[in-house]
Symmetry: C2
Subunit: 452 residues, 2 copies
């Protein structure tokens, strides 16, 4: 019988209660992009931590508050959890089957905005902590939480917060906010994140929209200016044309390639799940597709807006146009540097009229796959998932792991309740309840094994 039998039994018996708590957290909107409900959500999270005997502070920043919490344990070592309580905007609302902030359980899944990214992780980790306290009366090590409210808007103030609170955040290892299983239900250990540089490009060509019969032949059109400027950034060959953009790219190592080769092919899975007819760059699958997905920097248009967008036709020449653009960065690209190169590029192409608004950025960072803490987390998964975690040297997403890896000097391991159809950032975001429970079981083991 597993030494975790009591813990597992506790987790299973109290699952409904934990999901109820998760429901309360999801029902509190906390949309960082729109500044909705952040303070309220931070207070709610702090209260949840205090209910477990943590000392919890809601600490102001120049943006959304950060929740810092700590509970001493029997041992000397300290485990730091990084999470975030903010969520992506719920739009487009009409594509949700149930309202995004009224969490609902259907067919073994629970739906709601932020339930996977990242509120489910917060509450399942609290559930794991409850199980240890309930069965052992105390924690085997110190546990700290840093739960920020700006992860979905590029964690603009977190780097500074970490630098200013190095002593407080001191720890021996860090569990990251996310993780999960792949399409085979194999738990994955993601050891790096790409960086990001997120900008809004905008053009104002006139002081007012004008009838297109008047302006079309003689006035500058904001939508055209934006279209032309964007098309200088990247062409259908997918090569980013900003001079110097690739200068600091560190290519993947042979070990990276080996780890990537060991991962299953994703091509068919992606085609089915996302309706991809053809991958870009002539990719068809195999290691090349997997490598390209995470080791190359990107330039993605996330949104376009200009003029009339309703049904039917409106013959108007727009005075204003804007695009949301994110650049995913790899080591050792730096967001400030990319921003400068973007400005220089636009100017060189005659697009001084295109304004750049910097909406946030962070560099990429990675943790060594051979670190002992990584091994602990990987092995602790075996009893829960019937296999150890599979190591992925880095992923395509971004997050503020840079200050944790480089300022605090911590190994950062990932683990979580995600799965391929979790729809983070999209309508009908959901978690599988079986994976919610597994994540709690895994976390209880990680806390104990780490403390030994």
């Amino acid at each position: 019988m597993s030494e975790y039998a009591k813990v597992d039994s506790y987790l299973e018996k109290n699952l409904d209660k934990s999901l109820e708590e998760l429901g309360r957290l999801v029902a509190q909107p906390s949309i960082s992009a729109q500044g909705i409900g952040l303070k309220e959500c931070a207070n709610l999270v702090a209260d949840m931590l205090r209910a477990r005997g943590f000392t919890a502070e809601v600490m102001d920043t120049e943006g959304a508050p950060v929740v810092f919490a700590e509970r001493k344990g029997k041992g000397e070592k300290t485990l730091l959890f990084y999470n975030h309580y903010d969520v992506q905007p719920p739009e487009p609302l009409e594509l949700w089957d149930s309202p995004p902030f009224e969490p609902q359980i259907r067919n073994g899944k629970m739906y709601g905005r932020g339930i996977s990214d990242d509120k489910g992780h917060i509450v399942s980790r609290l559930h794991a902590i409850d199980s240890i306290i309930a069965t052992e009366g105390d924690l085997p090590c110190n546990i700290k939480f840093i739960i920020e409210g700006e992860e979905e808007t590029a964690s603009v103030h977190l780097h500074e917060f970490v630098r200013d609170n190095k002593e407080k955040l001191k720890a021996d290892a860090c569990i990251w906010e996310f993780g999960g299983v792949d399409h085979r239900d194999v738990p994955m250990q993601y050891l790096g994140l790409r960086g990001i540089c997120y900008v809004e490009l905008s053009v104002e060509s006139l002081s007012t929209d004008v009838h297109s019969g008047l302006g079309g032949s003689i006035f500058p059109n904001a939508a055209w200016r934006l279209t032309w400027a964007l098309s200088t950034l990247k062409g259908p060959d997918e090569r980013i044309r900003i001079p110097g953009f690739y200068d600091d790219v560190k290519p993947p190592t042979p070990n990276d390639r080996e780890l990537m080769e060991a991962l299953p092919d994703v091509a068919e899975e992606y085609k089915k799940r996302y309706g991809v007819k053809e991958f870009i760059k002539g990719l068809t699958g195999g290691t090349e597709l997997k490598m390209e997905e995470v080791f190359t920097p990107t330039c993605t248009i996330c949104g376009l807006t200009s003029g009339y967008q309703g049904p039917g036709s409106k013959t108007v020449q727009p005075a204003f146009a804007s695009a949301k653009v994110d650049f995913r960065l790899v080591p050792d690209q730096r967001p400030e540097d990319i921003l400068q190169k973007l400005r220089a590029h636009l100017d060189a192409h005659g697009f001084e009229d295109v304004q750049i608004k910097f909406l946030g950025g962070e560099p990429a960072a990675r943790t060594d796959p051979d670190d002992s803490f990584v091994r602990t987390v990987v092995q602790a998964a075996e009893e829960v998932y019937e296999q150890p975690m599979q190591i992925v040297p880095t992923v395509g997403g971004s997050g503020p792991n840079y200050p944790f890896v480089h300022d605090l000097g911590l190994p950062v391991a990932t683990a979580g309740l995600g799965y391929p159809d979790t729809r983070a950032h999209a309508p009908n975001e959901n978690i599988r309840i079986d994976l919610y429970l597994k994540h709690a079981r895994h976390m209880a083991r990680v806390i104990r094994e780490f403390a030994r």
Copy 2:
């Protein structure tokens, strides 16, 4: 004393009553692009005509109904008025100083969506008719009205309607829906309209939006596909790159150039009114700017939409993107031909994934500046505006004059209450009340002089 003294006196005395009637018409939304209130507005217009002793029919089409009305007069001749009761969408709502469908009078102007384009014209013409009936007991000629409900969506069914009802619409001359004074308050006689081909271009690259950290490096991005496709249509040199696009363009005649030279320079006026910093194509003003404005075909992006468009950042790769694009055509370009050439061009550039939805079109048409009816309308203005109308051989806007000129064989003259700051198609659309009255006075004269 003018023979129109009684008419003028009637018009002035009953102005407030007429504006009240106009207010009721503007308060009835009738947005053809969005299918809102069309039937209701058609019935309201028909009732207004019946109140003047017209027989009025609300005739179904495959789109919005057409109001046809007729009242016999003493003479043999028949004057046809073409108007439309539909209006442009009122968005962006936040830029209106008063609600678009709650007409309001402020400082000698009256505001509301469609008040200038085209409801003000309808009611001021009814006001003119009232003045003649009130002072003479009858009309001096037959008067017909055709008032359609799809002008703002390219009059998709009007051409067929005109062809199917040639007998009913038989007339000797036609007064067009719009007209007005220029920035010097000189009344203008606009004798031609450009054609139009309005399309929606759209791309669906995936079955669902996807986290930009996943899709950026390997999935096709709808917004990028659209951006690249658009940028093949026209570059910053403003030359439209669709092969054969300019093939059927008939250049302006020496007489056109002479008429255009006689018109005042518009450069400074445009700069001030629309906040133009620089005209496109290196234009600075003079005859070249005036010629370019109306004698060249265009390709205008009227709207762009894709992905996230709210405040802040959302890291999503959009599955869908679309653009509204209008081509303004000159004689002898044909919309169906342009549509085919557009499709062939996109295919030739590898953009088979860009869908084209045709939202309406009509060819350009012009009336001879030397036509006797044109002279009548031009001269009738003199007593009202203290000068005859100035002739503009064609304008940049579009409208369905082609079937009236080419199927019914009518001279089509324009006259109206517009002025440069009327803001048709834009927020705070308005009319000047003094010009509303002048248009009614002008129309009363045109009806009488035409009947002689």
